[in-house]
Point group: C2
């Protein structure tokens, strides 16, 4: 019935997002309750509604924040003019960015079905913007003759699926460093499209 001592919205808001992200990634959006998220944060369930309109908004905000960060981080890296060099930058960037946020990535790929149609459309638009960046690199390389690709759009889907697949098995504590993985996957990507 009372405010928790030491409570402060600047602390609680990020803790809610973090708790939601971990639990959604571990168990899935529909399987996790708002009460579980609240317990993880250390508040009662009613407190969550000071920070999110509802459960659906919480998921949508997590997904769009991740995708907007992804796009912003990519935009912050000027891609080389040379398509081969640009593809290498993109490949390493994708692997590293995704490996550093496994929960957010997992949610962004796995929880699309739990979005309402409007939210789904908004998230798809962001995903397409990201995919378009790679398609542009591939189309440019196809045009200059640096790449031999039948269809840049399909090659985009293939490359992103392969690169994102790293997250299903890569562990920082594994026998390969992230640098090793980047090198191996860059080699495979390069050969996939090389003339």
């Amino acid at each position: 019935m009372a405010r928790t001592a030491g409570s402060h919205s600047a602390l609680t808001a990020p803790r809610i997002r973090e708790a939601a992200q971990v639990l959604f990634a571990q168990q899935g959006f529909a399987a996790v309750s708002m009460r579980q998220i609240a317990a993880e944060v250390g508040v009662q369930v009613g407190a969550l509604y000071n920070y999110t309109a509802d459960k659906q908004s919480l998921l949508f905000d997590l997904m769009t924040a991740h995708l907007e960060d992804l796009l912003a981080a990519l935009d912050a890296r000027p891609l080389p003019e040379d398509p081969v060099a640009a593809l290498e930058v993109f490949t390493r960037f994708h692997i590293r960015f995704h490996a550093e946020r496994p929960d957010a990535v997992f949610i962004a790929y796995m929880e699309l079905r739990n979005l309402t149609p409007d939210n789904f459309a908004a998230v798809e638009a962001l995903r397409h913007r990201y995919e378009d960046r790679l398609t542009a690199i591939l189309a440019s390389g196809q045009q200059t003759g640096a790449f031999r690709i039948e269809d840049p759009r399909i090659a985009t889907m293939a490359i992103i699926a392969m690169l994102t697949g790293v997250n299903t098995w890569f562990r920082q504590s594994g026998r390969l460093s992230l640098e090793d993985v980047e090198a191996i996957y860059w080699d495979m990507t390069r050969r996939m499209v090389a003339d």
Copy 2:
């Protein structure tokens, strides 16, 4: 309170599995209720328990049936001795088999988190058996010099992620036939591992 006219277990059992598969693929295991599945079949929720021990068993059975079908279908195809030819057979097989059962594939990849630890272990073992088949092809090719691969296990993960990714976009009604897609992906796969 009474038996439905025309009811017959040989009809109801497959209908329950089919309804569960479609709904689990569309909405996710946790978001779908047993009542929804029953409604789709045309029975009351209590009737489902003549055919499945519980909701978790229903999911587990769908997943293992799919993976066992996958392994059996692969076993039914003698792979060529030549690693390159074997890899082509595997690639085309994987794409076709998966494209023909999008819901089952989707569930097998997306609903792992909803399995109990024991069930998860059993399903993982089946997935590893399938992955091992590709690793064996790649290791053989690496040994004979037909492939230049740094790590057959990682190449396996990369290839399967890429091939399974086809299911996220391919539609039978799309501008490309399944044959076209097989050809494009075989070309990319071959180049990824070629010496």
